[in-house]
């Protein structure tokens, strides 16, 4: 057992070295996960603009459209709807991952120069990035095998996580603003 742990350590180091050698200079883990920088988004599909993105986010996981289609009692229409909705959901989720990765890249690019980096805040933020990307990947998986409105609770969770950031942000911004204002 003990020996196995040492072997695992050696393997882990070897794996990290291979990754270290493969990544092009000045690029990080993200480049390995997604060499094209599109995060799996098909090249023929363009990225959403911000308004489209928000609007589609509202609509994709909603039950309204599905309820409406079900009222029509047409199996072929239902099939067509599911096929189309899955495609849109996948595209939208891939776009979310691209956006999160892009925000992460921007943050890391800035924070590596930061003189007063707060390690705890940084680690928390990095874990949040990992969590959000993993959540999007889970949603992608669910969308692939179930109805697009099925991952509603997961999406709600995603929403709440993003929302939880807000009070902290408001508080800190107010504080930062207060410090800077003349008394």
């Amino acid at each position: 057992m003990n020996m196995l742990l040492f072997f695992i350590t050696a393997l882990l180091l070897a794996w990290a070295l291979v990754r270290f050698a493969r990544v092009r200079n000045g690029r990080g883990f993200a480049a390995l996960a997604d060499p094209s920088g599109t995060s799996g988004r098909p090249e023929h599909l363009p990225a959403f603009d911000d308004r489209e993105f928000q609007h589609l986010g509202d609509a994709i996981f909603s039950e309204r459209d599905w309820n409406f289609i079900q009222k029509e009692s047409s199996p072929s229409l239902e099939r067509l709807f599911l096929q189309e909705r899955r495609g849109v959901a996948r595209h939208w989720l891939n776009d979310s991952v691209v956006r999160i990765r892009s925000i992460r890249a921007g943050h890391l690019r800035n924070s590596k120069y930061s003189e007063n980096l707060e390690v705890f805040a940084e680690v928390k933020l990095l874990l949040l990035f990992v969590y959000l990307i993993a959540l999007c990947q889970c949603l992608l998986l669910v969308v692939r095998f179930a109805r697009p409105d099925t991952p509603r609770s997961l999406a709600l969770h995603f929403q709440r996580t993003a929302r939880r950031l807000m009070p902290v942000q408001d508080e800190s911004l107010a504080k930062a603003g207060g410090e800077g204002s003349p008394r």
Binding site: F7, L17, F20, R27, I103, S111, A162
Partner: protein, 255 residues
């Protein structure tokens, strides 16, 4: 016949590496790395001589040299950290904390063993002790690689070569010393070939990486440097940007 050949290749490569480093004055940039190599070079020559003339003293001298090598090797890791992250104070701070965490864990393990009445380090012999020390080093290298990759730190071919070679040396050492502890003397006869051979491979990596000159990289003057003043503001800005990425759901009011 094979052992002296492997040994000769190793000494030759080491000589080449040192000679090239001194010629190009790279020992000023990587003093600890070249000190480590000079030590290993002298160790190899003196141990071979000792093996020829005083074979009974060889084993003792070998393990003493190995431990000095482990200590100097830790300094090589420190040097990579120092050179690679000098222009990036934020990443350097992160790496310091991560390395501190690795060493604190190792220290905690020592304390726990001691409180249980075990040896200060749970090693039955010198090979096990070296393996344990190499494992701590491996975690330190792993932490360094993760930080360098996550922050996409630019690295010169020299740095890449030094870290890759040393990492390979560590991974090999851990596997070989674990097998030695487990299999005992039956593995010893294989180890006398494998160990110097793998070290020759490491020397090939170092010699190839450090053969030609490469301009020293400084921090890239990119447009991100305007935001590097205050980290807490940067975190807030990132969180704000993350707010825009969320699946909007009916019944959920937006702020």
């Amino acid at each position: 016949m094979l052992t002296p050949l492997i040994w000769f290749v190793g000494v030759f490569l080491q000589f080449l590496l040192l000679q090239r480093g001194i010629q190009a004055k790279w020992q000023r940039r990587f003093p600890l790395f070249y000190s480590y190599n000079l030590f290993v070079f002298l160790e190899d020559v003196s141990l071979f001589t000792l093996y020829k003339w005083l074979p009974l003293r060889y084993a003792q001298a070998y393990w003493i040299c190995e431990f000095v090598g482990v200590v100097l090797g830790s300094l090589v890791v420190f040097e990579v950290y120092r050179v690679a992250l000098r222009p990036y104070p934020g990443t350097a701070r992160m790496a310091r904390n991560l390395l501190g965490f690795v060493f604190a864990l190792a220290f905690a393990k020592v304390l726990v063993n001691r409180s249980h009445g075990a040896l200060w380090w749970p090693a039955r012999d010198a090979a096990e002790l070296e393996r344990n020390l190499r494992t701590v080093q491996a975690f330190a290298v792993l932490a360094l690689i993760i930080v360098i990759l996550v922050y996409a730190i630019p690295r010169s071919r020299h740095l890449k070569g030094i870290l890759a070679g040393y990492g390979l040396l560590l991974a090999n050492s851990i596997v070989q010393l674990s097998l030695l502890s487990h299999l005992g003397s039956s593995f010893q006869s294989v180890l006398v070939y494998i160990q110097p051979f793998t070290y020759d491979i490491v020397l090939c990596i170092w010699t190839a990486a450090l053969w030609s000159a490469e301009a020293e990289r400084n921090a890239l003057p990119d447009d991100s440097r305007d935001a590097c003043g205050d980290h807490s503001r940067l975190v807030l800005r990132t969180k704000q940007a993350l707010q825009s990425v969320r699946p909007g759901l009916p019944g959920m009011d937006r702020r």
